[in-house]
Amino acid sequence: MLLEVENLQTEFKVKRGTVKAVNNVSFGVEKGEILAIVGESGSGKSVSSLSIMGLIRNPGKVTGGKIMFHDENLVGKSNKEMNKIRGDKISMIFQEPMTSLNPVYKIGDQIMESILTHTELSKTEAKETAIKMLDLVGIPSPEKRMDDYPHQMSGGMRQRVMIAMALSCNPEVLIADEPTTALDVTIQAQILELIDRLRNKIGMAVLLITHDLGVVAETADRVVVMYCGRIVEQADVKDIFTDPLHPYTKGLLESIPRMEEDRDRLYMIKGVVPDPTKLPKGCSFADRCENCMEKCKEHMPALVDVGGRKVRCFLYSDEEEVDV
């Protein structure tokens, strides 16, 4: 594995207690692979990615586990050490293209900043690289656009700039945190197609964080489904869509509107996500689950292998989570 997260724990200390935003999460991503992390707001998917980047700020903290990258553990590295990896070997693009670029600097300078930070290139060479990157992400007349400020560009264009910036140092891993959520559908497709194309071209691994299963189906190779800070299911993308195991995954898939069906009401998962400071004793999903059993309310199921994939549910195995 190029990047392997093992038993990651990230906690936030808030007034009402401690939130285990990421609880014992393990996954890995290979070179050239797209791994999707799916879950609703608060499931811990963004926190997982920020943990990998070392960008968890107070009151949050990575409290356990390992993040192995090239046989090096990123957990516990100093900010200075992480700065050598961030933006160079692992880079990230964010959900909000409208606000993620600094409004007072030209986009060209913002891309060059990454290049100049991590390479020995001269300013002129960095500029050439930046222009090449803008061209690569499909921005027309890139030389002219170098001098544009973010406010002179549309949301889709800004997200392309973000991608150009993230890819400017040829990262081995790209973390894309809801890269298309803020964009309209046609632009979404273009951006996803772009990420997929670049993955093939550069051979980088992509960690795609999303709540949109449509995006997953189109791009991902493997899928991790998260709920309340834990992984509930992990499988190849084909398996997830044709044969979902966990009731939560099933619910998510059910709630996607389908062209071929004529329905008055969309399916929805009943109830709401529990308060993260007061998670129920047993399975976090028990209260909302249609297959809930007595046992589910008392015990947390373990994440177990089921025919080459993983699921955390008593429907498939009686094994309990040891460390709750």
Binding site: L55, K80, L101, V104, H118, M165
Partner: protein, 338 residues
């Protein structure tokens, strides 16, 4: 941009007309009759009448105002009732002292205010943050004249480090030049005098700076906290650039607008003369002089000073607005968004 600046400068005219009307008529309505003040208590009625006639105070008040404006347009604000010197000369001889101390104070306030504000924002809720914000609250609320006196007691009486009053020792006063002693002494190569002038300006300058420093540091802190929470800061961090660069280049640069506004307005009011500080430290600037003239009903001087201060304020505002355009590329004056 140039069009915009010209437009703003033209807007100065109605402002000055308004200010001149207010100050002119307020003086005639509220201020004590200058004749007995100028001529003394024992002046005869006849001599007072004669003095009033000579100074045009017996004319219809509208006529007086028109005459004043006629002169002002030509740059003639009349003579001081007491010295019979031209008002502009009187003011001109005191303005360098005020400008010098205002610049000194604004430099100190800006450097330390921004530094404290940035550190407080970066170390939010730490001891440093709380301590500096309590101190700045004290700085905003403490009466300057009282603080000035405390400083004199400590640094002059107890420690004996600094002189208590004046701009420079009389023997060392530079002849001619710009009237800015720190510059004049340097230009003349008289380092002893320069040091002497510097020693003199420290106490009043720092006293004057403290209030502004406190305001700037509070504004910097809140503006920085806002900037550091923005998404582009996270982007900057994700690029792997150093934390210092993240804070200064990406944070402070975006936080500057309100800070520049405060600095501009504060500098404007410092240039208008700091009455209390100038009085406590016997600093021969425009502030203490104006107050003296108000108590003596020296109408021509008061009118001129108020107009000059109003002009300075308007110009400072204009300068701040121009700086905006350089700080934020989204601001374009005089051009319609295409």
């Amino acid at each position: 941009m140039i069009k915009y600046i010209i437009k703003r400068l033209l807007m100065l005219i109605p402002v000055l007309i308004g200010v001149s009307i207010i100050v002119f008529f307020l003086l005639r309505v509220c201020a004590p009759d200058p004749a007995p003040v100028v001529l003394g208590q024992h002046a005869t009625q006849a001599s007072m009448d004669e003095w009033r006639e000579a100074n045009g105070l017996n004319d219809n008040v509208i006529v007086q105002y028109v005459n004043f404006i006629k002169g002002a347009v030509k740059g003639d604000f009349g003579q001081s009732y007491y010295t019979n010197n031209s008002v502009l000369n009187e003011i001109g001889s005191r303005f360098p002292a005020t400008i010098e101390i205002a610049i000194f104070a604004i430099i100190i306030a800006t450097i330390f205010g921004i530094a404290i504000g940035v550190i407080a924002a970066v170390k939010k809720n730490s001891i440093i943050d709380n301590a500096s914000m309590v101190l700045s609250l004290v700085g905003v609320s403490i009466p300057i004249f009282w603080l000035g006196i405390l400083f004199i007691i400590l640094f002059v009486k107890v420690l004996g480090w600094l002189p208590a009053s004046g701009r420079i020792d009389a023997m060392l006063r530079p002849d001619g030049g710009t009237g800015f002693y720190l510059i004049d002494t340097l230009v003349q190569g008289n380092f002893e005098a320069f040091k002497n002038a510097l020693w003199h300006i420290i106490l009043p300058g720092v006293t004057l700076a403290l209030y502004t420093l406190a305001i700037i540091s509070r504004m910097t802190r809140s503006s920085m906290l806002d900037a550091l929470n923005q998404d582009y800061i996270r982007t900057a961090r994700s690029k792997g650039i150093g934390e210092g660069k993240v804070v200064i280049k990406h944070g402070l640069r975006n936080a500057l607008m309100p800070i520049v506004t405060v600095i501009g307005l504060q500098f404007g009011s410092l240039l208008g003369g700091a009455v209390l500080t100038e009085t406590v430290f016997a600093w021969p600037g425009i502030g203490s002089y104006t107050v003296e003239c108000i108590t003596k009903s020296d109408f021509p001087v008061i009118q001129a000073v108020v107009l000059i201060i109003a002009t300075i304020f308007v110009l400072m505002n204009l300068i701040v607005d121009i700086i905006y355009a350089f700080l934020d590329p989204r601001i374009k004056y005089g051009k319609r968004e295409s």
